[in-house]
Symmetry: C2
Subunit: 193 residues, 2 copies
């Protein structure tokens, strides 16, 4: 997605070996127009997949995911990273290890929102090691729902997340695929959409 | 906002003394159409206020806030509840006590996203004791920015958050104002918009 790649080149900041900071338009301050366009591109890619729910994980996935849900005219569900006092009914959970934060957290979705009649498009802002996406796939599988694919805004293609997900038999659609950071500059490989 | 009140009556669940669960359309599964309408109503209320930024707090505030930002054609910023490894620049912080979770957390916004030239509309999903909104006001004040008002989706008017914010001189616009839970039913008072 050229609009996204251009924005990463313009406003993204490479920190150290493998961190890309896009907090001016995606992960902290959010550009709604870019999110709208992202939503349309994912919806176009999955328009014939019979999607009934878009699933993401709090917090940075929510803004792109709600616009994907809008473009597909389905509800969006955001998985919770911590159990909530108001969540007393049946919940589906998975453990997710964050290499960045070096902590394991429990991710959960209320079981009433997913069933075997659902076909899910997973959306997330970043794909690196794929642990968050893997956790969401586990939860969706527990519900008996199908996964049509995983839509990723920015993929760090030099990490192993994509391989992990494709080895699990899931289609990955990434709008920007980063091959490497070279001398503090972002180098892209060809994106999926 | 009648559409919202009707939805609360239809799909909200009252738990115990003072918890309203709206996880089927706002706080877990999200109805984008309702969020769009909420965005339009807040934008109409603040269209002449010169808003330059919409500020909310992760995670449930993000979906309504991004549609408010869209309707006002400005960026949305979501405050973080935990410090992030990629957040190495100057950050503005406030301590927020959660009566529900009985923990104090640090809420933060990168200082580069708010300045004395900004006029902010704060948006959040719930107003109960007002602690989260108060934390956001502190951060915005540290940045030297102005606050035009606070837009709340659901206010629990029997708790003291609104008084706290109004005593601080800030306008509160709530789309649904809950007077009481009577025998497990939600009773509204007149909303602000």
């Amino acid at each position: 997605m050229k609009l996204l790649e251009d924005r990463i080149l313009k406003d993204g900041n490479v920190l150290g070996e493998n961190i890309l900071k896009v907090d001016s338009f995606l992960t902290h301050q959010v550009d709604y127009e870019l999110m709208q366009e992202i939503g349309k591109v994912f919806a176009e890619a999955y328009k014939n997949a019979g999607i009934t729910k878009v699933v993401t994980i709090e917090a940075s996935g929510i803004a792109p995911a709600i616009y994907v849900a809008q473009a597909l005219d389905v509800p969006m569900i955001f998985a919770k990273k911590h159990k909530n006092i108001t969540m007393t009914e049946g919940i589906l959970t998975a453990e997710v290890y964050s290499f960045t934060k070096q902590v394991t957290s429990t991710v959960s979705i209320a079981s009433k929102f997913l069933s075997e009649n659902d076909t899910v498009l997973v959306v997330d802002d970043f794909l690196a090691n794929g642990q968050a996406a893997k956790g969401l796939l586990e939860i969706i599988s527990q519900a008996g729902a199908k996964v049509a694919g995983i839509g990723i805004v920015i993929e760090k293609s030099f990490q192993n997340g994509r391989k992990l997900l494709e080895d699990a038999g899931v289609a990955v659609t990434s709008l920007a695929r980063i091959k490497a950071f070279e001398e503090g500059k972002v180098k892209f490989m060809e994106a999926d959409a």
